[in-house]
């Protein structure tokens, strides 16, 4: 494959590094980026205001009441955590697949900020959030231990474990890419910062094998922790007494719908990055089609689970479960059920058409719809049982307030802020994986620009050449 024309192929190898580094160094589409960051700053400001009001007045400002004790706080937590787990799991699958380097990095980068957005909820929904460290087991003068049988403790270990695995997976995968960016940087400060992040990486043969093994193992740990978090959360529901939270279908439902949401976010991000950055050769239409098949498969799986739930409850369930089902389809919160069906499960079937699968615009819209749909699913499974309990006396309505929606928008701000910084300063696509793929398939044939002696030279011209 190399041999005689080795020199020719090595040009393409260098190219991948240059294109990806050039995004961070020359910053194409910087106007759009600043505009997005400005909007994100607004959302973060809203979050600060909402949190200040929340800490001043208590969780009742979210509209939570003595029956609907968990409302938008836990819905948003579950939604974000689902996105985070789904994205981490899919990024691991893309890594194992071996040919999806571009998608894998974009997905990894979703997991961590989504996990952080989720992670603030268990803290702020405490009555006294400034004592959040009481959840941890640590030696203290009160001689007290946390309640290990409580889902609160499970949540805390799940989040800490998830964030640790996701951040190590993300960081270690980027180390060789940082080395490439270090060598492509011309400004001293930038070079030094990338050099620190690269840990002095020099590409030694034994380091490469160790790195590849570690990345694959971390991907495996990522899959396991995602499953643990999702199955753990269904166990947390099951230890309560509400109707509809004890089905053995719930763990499967949780994991499938979380991967579905993760795939939705990845579709949105990928199609956006493809339009904004000069990466069309790396995120090509085959990549989009692969993602489209993933979305379609998950949509079918999700609908299948809904159908299974319906048949089991309608034909085998007890009267309370049937009542919960009827309420889910026709009650005051039935819009959450129809949101999942109408926004996520039905629209993905447009992906049976080849043109839809290969269109970034379709994937962008579908991704947003899927995110909204899975939000509906989470709202349905949390609000439904809480506001319509076994006893008529425990039926109580719930309304979202400005503050609960504002807090949720604020967590969107956290996610976007971290993601925008990632797009600006870090390698958007795994340079190493893209090189390996290029080596295997020769996909990046015919580089348009001339070879330059210095690796950092003529970047801007090359970025322009790759646009389009």
């Amino acid at each position: 494959m190399f041999g005689r024309n080795g020199r020719r192929e090595s040009e393409h190898q260098e190219n991948v590094g240059e294109i990806v580094s050039a995004i961070a160094i020359t910053h194409p589409s910087w106007k759009l980026w600043w505009l997005a960051l400005l909007g994100t700053g607004g959302l973060l400001g809203l979050l600060v205001i909402c949190l200040a009001y929340l800490f001043e007045r208590g969780v009742a400002v979210w509209g939570n009441n003595s029956f609907v004790v968990w409302a938008l706080d836990i819905i948003s937590y579950d939604w974000w955590m689902g996105i985070a787990c789904g994205a981490l799991l899919l990024s691991a699958v893309f890594l194992f697949h071996g040919r999806r380097g571009a998608l894998s990095r974009l997905a990894q980068a979703v997991a961590l900020p989504a996990g952080i957005s989720a992670g603030i909820y268990p803290i702020i929904h405490l009555g006294r959030p400034w004592f959040f460290y009481w959840m941890f087991a640590y030696p203290n003068v009160m001689n007290m231990w946390p309640q290990f049988r409580s889902p609160l403790f499970w949540d805390e270990t799940d989040i800490v474990g998830f964030l640790t695995v996701a951040s190590i997976f993300w960081f270690l995968g980027m180390v060789p890419d940082f080395a490439v960016m270090r060598d492509h940087s011309e400004k001293l400060l930038r070079k030094r910062l990338y050099a620190i992040a690269a840990l002095g990486w020099r590409g030694e043969a034994s380091h490469w094998t160790r790195w590849s093994q570690s990345c694959r193992l971390l991907a495996l740990l990522g899959v396991l922790i995602s499953i643990n978090v999702q199955w753990g959360s269904s166990l947390m529901y099951a230890v309560s007494l509400e109707p509809g939270w004890h089905d053995t279908l719930l763990p499967v439902d949780d994991i499938i719908n979380s991967i579905f949401a993760g795939a939705g976010v990845i579709a949105v991000v990928t199609s956006m990055v493809r339009v904004v950055y000069p990466l069309r050769r790396m995120i090509d239409r085959d990549e989009l089609e692969f993602l489209a098949w993933v979305l379609l498969a998950l949509g079918i799986a999700s609908a299948f689970l809904y159908a299974t739930d319906f048949f089991f409850t309608a034909f085998g369930g007890n009267s309370f479960q049937r009542d919960a089902l009827v309420h889910r389809l026709t009650g005051s919160l039935s819009w959450t059920f129809w949101m999942m069906v109408g926004a996520a499960q039905i629209p993905v079937h447009v992906l049976w058409f080849r043109r839809a699968r290969r269109s970034a615009g379709t994937l962008f819209v579908l991704g947003l719809l899927v995110m909204a749909g899975v939000w509906g699913d989470r709202a349905m499974s949390i609000l439904g049982p809480l506001h319509h309990d076994f006893l008529p006396s425990s039926v109580h309505p719930w309304h979202a307030t400005f503050w609960s929606i504002g807090t949720w928008l604020g967590t969107v701000g956290i996610f976007l802020a971290i993601y925008l910084l990632f797009l600006r300063y870090l390698p958007v696509v795994s340079i190493i994986q893209a090189r390996q793929e290029a080596r295997l398939s020769g996909r990046y044939a015919d580089p348009p620009a001339a070879k330059s002696k210095r690796p950092g030279g003529r970047l801007r011209a090359r970025v322009e050449a790759y646009r389009g």
């Binding site: 040009e11 030694e204 590849s212 740990l221 643990n228």
Partner: protein, 181 residues
């Protein structure tokens, strides 16, 4: 930083992985000295060609996972059985199904942590500088150049002889550099 009396390191520069592997294999047969290679991407089979055993990173992950589950499960058992036994709704003190979710999460946490620490310890990273960075044009080792470094140690191999040998290879290197250790 040059140390007196040490032979210079010889760095052969290649444009592709295949000639690098071939060169590594033939240099290794002659036993000139310690071999290292620097490449811009993982090259399958290179570690074997250099005469090293491929590492097994999985033991760190497994050790970390076992450490984590023993630590977490032990801590919970100690707290709920001895340090702070408290009856909640008549449930048994040793209610192990409740401990599984946090135990697994902490196990995975330590698995990832041990893997990272093991990676850093075994590779000797982070490191501020390394003699390899003194090779002229080494910044291309992260772009499109493949370097094979030989540190002549055996008495029969001096630098000039190694260079002659490298030049005579069927796929000779694009350049040969001498670097003071």
């Amino acid at each position: 930083m040059a140390e007196e009396g040490k032979a210079p390191m010889i760095a052969a520069e290649f444009g592709a992985p295949e000639p690098l592997i071939a060169a590594a294999a033939s240099v290794r047969e002659r036993e000139f000295g310690e071999l290292t290679a620097y490449t811009p991407l993982p090259v399958p089979g290179l570690v074997n060609a250099l005469g090293r055993k491929p590492p097994r990173a999985s033991r760190f992950a497994i050790a970390g996972y076992v450490f984590g589950i023993v630590l977490c499960f032990g801590l919970i058992c100690y707290a709920t059985l001895y340090a702070y036994p408290i009856n909640v709704g008549g449930r048994p003190l040793f209610s192990w199904p409740y401990y599984i979710v946090p135990t697994d999460a902490i196990g995975l946490l330590f698995g990832a942590l041990f893997l990272l620490i093991g990676f850093l310890v075994m590779t000797g990273l982070p490191r501020l500088h390394h003699p390899a960075f003194d090779i002229p044009g080494f910044e291309r080792a992260s772009a499109d150049r493949f370097f094979l470094c030989i540190r002549p140690e055996s008495p029969k191999a001096d630098a000039a002889m190694v260079e002659r040998f490298l030049r005579a290879l069927p796929n000779p290197p694009l350049g040969i550099h001498r670097v003071r250790p």
